[in-house]
Symmetry: C2
Subunit: 210 residues, 2 copies
């Protein structure tokens, strides 16, 4: 049983531990980014990476949020892992184990001179080891790339990593099964593209995911 | 090879097919909900369920967004599945396969008389079959429950389900492996709570997740 799945009495907590935040971000591939457009909220999923103390967001340069960010745009970014389903004896007491970070800040495009570095960080974040297996971006490709950065300054981290809050004398029917079903993301068999030769070996970056 | 993983030439598309939207929502457990608070965006993860043509959101009654929603609050809700990582021959052409719904609307609390129904829908959405295995909510528990609803009226659905956009004559180095690594969420071995008897059989709802 790992630390994450050990059942404790303290089900939910905020933490200021940067190691928890960094691990949570480093294990995530998608961030949900909210901004205000014409007074209304908009939330979009984006590819992400972490570069030290800033979060990098990668999306289509044509997307409205990326255009609006040219001069800086206020965002809230949520990154969430659903780590398990919590089964209790009553419907009401069911819960989820999760790790979540909610970041507030101003998103700005990374400087042109930093774009290649930022693209490398995001690529390596999503697929460790891939950068050196493939062709580097051309100047034209970099010009078509926008990566936004948000400083990891104002961030709220919450973790629930516990079983149901049951006690022997809580009046519930303890013949009903209660506990946690952990959830995890796994990779299935790789599917080569039609023009990948059948004798082409899986690269190290793919094998590391399996 | 399933429809989802078949490699096609049309990598990205918007769809108005309600069946795609419904399946995407029905397979999701977490929604990312954005609202505007004091002029700034806030995005929070919430448990979710779908009840016909409305999305139900479940969270702590103490959370600011739930308090603000008492008289209706404008939200944007994103629900995203990351279905695979797309490996190309160049860093720039890497991508992700995903299904995403972005909903816009006004969130309001479900009526008091509908709360038990809404809690059942969310519970059954997250853990099919669980409602009938456990104790129903008491009036006090229902009073402490807030479920928000957002009509599935204004929603944008995007699906990318394709391989990398490679062509024999695209100038790339085709000795580099390209293709898709599908991703999937799985359940690990259930962890019983300390007071679940060791002879208590796993209920049907848990077994269905394994």
């Amino acid at each position: 049983m790992s630390d994450r799945t050990r059942l404790t009495r303290k089900p939910e907590r905020r933490t200021d531990d940067p190691a928890v935040l960094h691990r949570l971000l480093d294990e995530a591939r998608i961030a949900h980014v909210g901004c205000v457009r014409d007074g209304s909220p908009v939330v979009l999923p984006m590819a992400m990476g972490r570069d030290e103390d800033r979060l990098l967001l990668h999306g289509s340069t044509g997307a409205g949020m990326f255009l609006a960010a040219r001069s800086g745009i206020e965002v809230s970014v949520a990154v969430t892992h659903l780590d398990g389903l919590v089964f209790a004896r009553s419907a009401f007491d069911h819960s989820m184990n999760y790790r979540s970070a909610v970041l507030f800040g101003v998103a700005t495009p990374v400087a042109p001179g930093e774009k290649e570095h930022a693209l490398k960080v995001v690529t390596e974040h999503l697929i460790p080891g891939r950068w050196d297996e493939v062709r580097s971006p051309t100047p034209k490709e970099l010009a078509a790339t926008t990566v936004l950065e948000v400083p990891l300054a104002e961030v709220s981290v919450k973790v629930r990593a516990a079983g149901p809050g049951d006690e022997p004398g809580d009046g519930e029917d303890h013949s009903v099964w209660a506990g946690v079903v952990p959830l995890r993301t796994v990779a299935d068999d790789p599917i080569p593209s039609p023009i990948t030769g059948s004798s082409t070996a899986l690269p190290r970056s793919v094998r590391a995911l399996l």
